[in-house]
């Protein structure tokens, strides 16, 4: 599903973000990638979304080789991966319904299908009743749930969540993690990038720890060790 083979990423100015990363994530796994700020976690996410290209090594996601992917193929790749970010990233001038629908519209989904799927995913995150509101009219926790709903809309095989609880209080954080677990139970591979010790320890799933751009630990039922 996701494979990193000897991947290194060196930014301009010779700053090494990742060094010789090897990992394999199988379908249906729930993996937490942990590490302190600036250790290369977000670079890994960017590489998976083809926002960045590896300096060396190979990244295989689904059938795509990220190092060789053509620009016109990137939108298709991104439609296969659900993404949840710390800073919500909702379109401010679209309602919650339209935000979720947008992810389907860009892929050319028929309107009838959109009208069917969007209320469903908003129901999963508990926001069906607020679907005609704009992002500014709901709380931060709710906004993050909309992002989760949007990431689920096109039924992705992989969901990448980069610090999804970073801007949320503990109750909302718990809700989001519960949602991610629920999504994983449906069979979606979940990659959670976080530095929240409590969440990682409660999950008791696979934990990959990164330090200074290098994987220092990969445990099947791990804990936050830093």
């Amino acid at each position: 599903m996701v494979r990193f083979k000897n991947v290194s990423k060196i930014y301009q100015g010779h700053q090494t973000a990742l060094k010789d990363i090897n990992l394999h994530i199988t379908p249906g796994e729930f993996v937490s990638i942990v590490g302190q700020s600036g250790t290369g976690k977000t670079t890994m996410v960017k590489l998976m979304l083809a926002e960045e290209r590896p300096s060396s090594g190979k990244i295989i996601i689904g059938g795509w080789d990220i190092g060789d992917i053509k620009s016109r193929e990137i939108p298709s790749l991104r439609r296969q991966i659900g993404v949840v970010f710390q800073d919500f990233k909702l379109l401010p001038n679209k309602t919650l319904f339209e935000n979720v629908a947008f992810a389907l519209e860009v892929g050319g989904e028929q309107q009838e299908k959109i009208d069917e799927i969007v209320p469903q995913v908003l129901r999963i995150v508990g926001l069906e009743s607020k679907m005609n509101r704009f992002p500014r009219q709901i709380s931060g926790g709710e906004q993050q749930r909309v992002v989760v709903a949007r990431s689920l809309a096109h039924r992705p095989k992989i969901l990448v969540a980069d610090e999804p609880t970073g801007n949320l209080d503990s109750i909302n954080s718990r809700d989001i993690i519960d949602l991610l677990k629920k999504i994983n139970d449906f069979g979606t591979t979940v990659i959670l990038v976080t530095h929240n010790r409590e969440i990682v320890n409660d999950l008791t799933r696979r934990v990959i720890t990164i330090e200074n751009g290098v994987i220092v630990s990969d445990q099947a039922r791990g804990k936050y060790i830093l």
């Binding site: 993404v83 970010f85 990233k89 860009v106 949007r150």
Partner: protein, 306 residues
């Protein structure tokens, strides 16, 4: 798939337009102001050119004949002049008409009237007053008369030399004013292009986070750029339409003043506006659309780099 995408692009552009109402309003206002300033200059150029035409038409070449020349001889010259392609009109003023005119002109100068009475015969000769299509042809009239030795002997001295100096001077002024007018218009048009390009760039800049989000959820570049480009077409269309409305009002309100300046003539701004509607607004709409589309495409491209 293509029509589905196109319909969504159009839907999103109208949505953006209405939901970013203030930004849309500011952008349209700037388009209207710049277009209107260019249109106003076009009007001013047209008025100036018309005024010059009127002044030019008032200047003519008078061919003065010797008193002894007969009417048949004058009419022969008149017929000859009328065959010239650059001659618009030739008016025959007889010596008695010329004397009446002179008396009328100097009715308040008893000295001149007294002197005329002293003379037994009419001292004036017949005159042909020649109008041409443009001032540059006045010299050609003079040359044509003098080139014919049969006619040259009938002409009384250097009667048209003074006029040729005035005509030359007027011609220079007309050309210069026209050049300055169109130069200022072109300068304003360039400023307008710069202002519009920057306004659109700022409008796109305010959407840069949205563009990033659209990319992340898998929107293709064409799908992201489409609504912005179409929105800029809406701006251009509405801006041109409002500019036309303003220009119409401008024409209606300023026509009485223009007629006052130009006197009784067949020219009015409203008439000029309708005669040149396609040329002025078609050109402006096309220009503004091309500018908007290019500016939008360039501005979005900056944020669409993967």
């Amino acid at each position: 798939m293509f029509f589905l995408s196109l319909s969504r692009i159009i839907k999103f552009s109208f949505q953006n337009f209405l939901r970013n109402f203030w930004l849309s309003l500011v952008t349209i206002t700037i388009i209207v102001l710049t277009l209107f300033s260019v249109t106003s200059l076009i009007f001013i150029n047209a008025i100036t050119e018309k005024a010059m035409q009127i002044v030019e038409s008032k200047v003519d070449v008078s061919v003065y004949f010797k008193p002894a020349v007969t009417e048949e001889q004058v009419l022969a010259v008149k017929d000859e002049l009328k065959t010239l392609p650059f001659v618009k009109n030739v008016e025959y003023v007889t010596k008695s008409e010329a004397l009446t005119k002179l008396r009328e002109q100097y009715k308040d100068s008893p000295l001149i009237l007294e002197s005329l009475k002293e003379l037994d015969n009419n001292p004036l000769g017949d005159t042909l007053v020649v109008n041409t299509y443009d001032t540059e042809s006045y010299q050609k009239v003079i040359d044509a008369v003098l080139a014919n030795s049969k006619f040259a002997s009938l002409i009384d001295g250097q009667s048209f030399d003074d006029n040729s100096y005035i005509i030359e001077k007027l011609q220079k002024i007309t050309n210069r004013i026209s050049r300055i007018g169109w130069g200022v218009t072109a300068f304003f048009a360039i400023i307008s292009v710069m202002v519009i390009v920057n306004t659109i760039r700022i409008a796109i800049y305010t959407h840069k986070d949205e563009i990033a989000i659209m990319r992340l959820v898998g929107a293709s570049n064409r799908f992201i750029r489409g609504p912005f480009v179409f929105e800029s077409i809406i701006y251009a269309f509405i801006g041109s339409l409002i500019c036309f409305g303003l220009s119409y009002l401008f024409a209606v309100f300023s026509d009485p003043y223009v007629i006052e300046i130009l006197g009784q003539s067949d020219f009015s701004i409203l008439g000029y506006l309708f005669d040149n509607m396609l040329y002025i607004f078609g050109g402006e709409l096309l220009g503004i659309m091309i500018i908007s589309i290019v500016a939008t495409s360039l501005a979005t491209r900056r944020y669409l780099k993967v």
